[in-house]
Amino acid sequence: MPRESFNAQLEGLQSTLLKMGSRVEEAIQAVIRALVDRDPVVARAVVEGDDEIDRLQHEVEHEASQLIALQQPLAGDLRHIVSAIKISGDLERIGDNCENIAKVVIRLGGQPYVKPLIDVPRMGELARSMLRDTLEAYVSRDVEAIRTLPERDDEVDHLYSQVLRELLTYMMQDPQTIQQGMELLLVSRYLERIADHVTNVGESVIYLVTGEHVDLNA
């Protein structure tokens, strides 16, 4: 097969991955909105949207394995394909975590929160902006901007332990709040996981561009 068509297929793979990334980014944003507004309708849309994210992951895997099987790519091309597979895996996990949060929102069924949600949406917004920058680095092949991902991930971790402490205090003071407290605890745990997966995506992008294996989650 001529090089031109190979390049077109690589581009197609990248486009599918970007489509998936954009869906995942919107899922994070939507689920945070659903959480803050206590809106089960938006939450249900996030749950339904996850199927499409899963389908896109299969598409990425399919396109990638076809390229490997038919083209025997080398060096940079192979890296491109391998990182696409890895990235799609992490994106899919982020999508699943969004779905989990959405299910919590549905379970809470619009009941008022024991405390105003400040840090939890902040965690979500941080994770979302990390993903945005990572996807942009993926397109521009400029990884400088995502070298700071570990610091931003640390910030999410820090917020996570803060939320944890705060929720524990509430739950100890008033056992009535335990059920909701546990759910919110889960939500912040999911968000913390999302940020970790974004950091993994960042690692894959750095591997794709420079060929080096870095551990941003260290």
Binding site: G12, Q14, S15, L18, K19, G21, E25, S129, V139, S140
Partner: protein
Amino acid sequence: MSASGLFLGAVVFLVGALLGGWLRDRHWRAGVGRWRAVLEGARREEDVEAPAPLLDLVRLVRGRLRELRAELERCRERTLLLEQSLRALPTGLMLVDREGRALLFNPALTELLGTGKSRAQAGRPHIELTQNFRLSEMVEGVLRDGVERSMEVTPPAFRDRYLEARCVPLGAALPGPETGGGTEADGGGDGEGRRGGALLVLHDVSSIRRAERLRRDFVANVSHELRTPVTSILGFTETLLDGAIDDHALAREFVGIIEGEARRLAAMVEELLDLAQLEAKQVELNYRTFQVEELVREVVERFHPLARQRGVELEGEADPSLQLEADRQRVGQLLSNLVDNGIKYTSEGGRVLVRARAESRAQRPGVLLVVEDTGRGIPADQLDRIFERFYRVGGGRERPENQTGGSGLGLAIVKHVAEVHGGSVDVWSEPGKGSRFEVWLPAQAAGR
């Protein structure tokens, strides 16, 4: 341009070839000197001894070349002009060829979507530029069936941005970035839409959406606020008509209530009109210089009865030398609204403090009016909304207990009074601890 350019180029080439052959045959021995003489002949042909048809041809070629160069220059200028206009356009534009590659886009596109950092290039797949699956699916749909589509997208990177996206098919075949023309050759494709490309247009409609939301809230609130006293008036009037009017003591009480509600209604309508005028900047400000301390004392004295009734401590303090050139009555209204709010939202045993001091901002001398309370405070996420008309903290429309009928317009008026004076309002608050409103006004009217 490219077709006529090609044509002219071919003409020049043909003429050159003919010329070469002819010269070789007839002037070979004359050598290079003769060549140069021939070419220079175009400038000073009368000095050169050359056959007339050759000179005519040379002149023709030179003439055409000049025209071509001028045409090229014009094209370059036009392209530059178009590029500059495209760059300056606030509307996002992207031209996509039938392969789904962005042939052309402007900076507004990536700015509106917040994807500028990816530095995507023309000639790349369109999703690299938009990085939005909704837009990319829309573009793909248009490329597939050639049917125009439109929708509204909210890029996740922005909290309050609404973009109206429209994607139209381009019937005429577009040249691809590498194939450069030649779209006629493949002849396939069914229907114009498939052969052509698509144009994506993005408009920022955020301000319209925000205005719509404000208007919706406003209409909902104003009808609620007006309905409450009207219902009460109607209820008591009906009871009176049903016979209560004969019981003098009861009738007196009811009429008193009706009067109170009617007054509240009148005050609200008054404030609404006032606010409308302030917003339209149609108010005539009656500027004069006055002592701030005196005004603070007046306002505090006026609210002492209410404060006592609520068990709230009210105090005012200001430097006696502090002067302000402003509309005294308006500033009084502003201060009254803040103090009124402070007292109403502070529970018994609390404290409201009014202070004034000199403070310069941006090298402009001014006066800072501070109203601080130890009341229930305002949650952080609502701070930026409290200056909206009828906005009530807590989101609900429930009135604070024992409220004496605030209109919900007080803070909106405060903000507008400050702004028509060229000043500003800031607020700090901690739920459960209290709030602090700071109004800064320039010490002297602008332009004086």
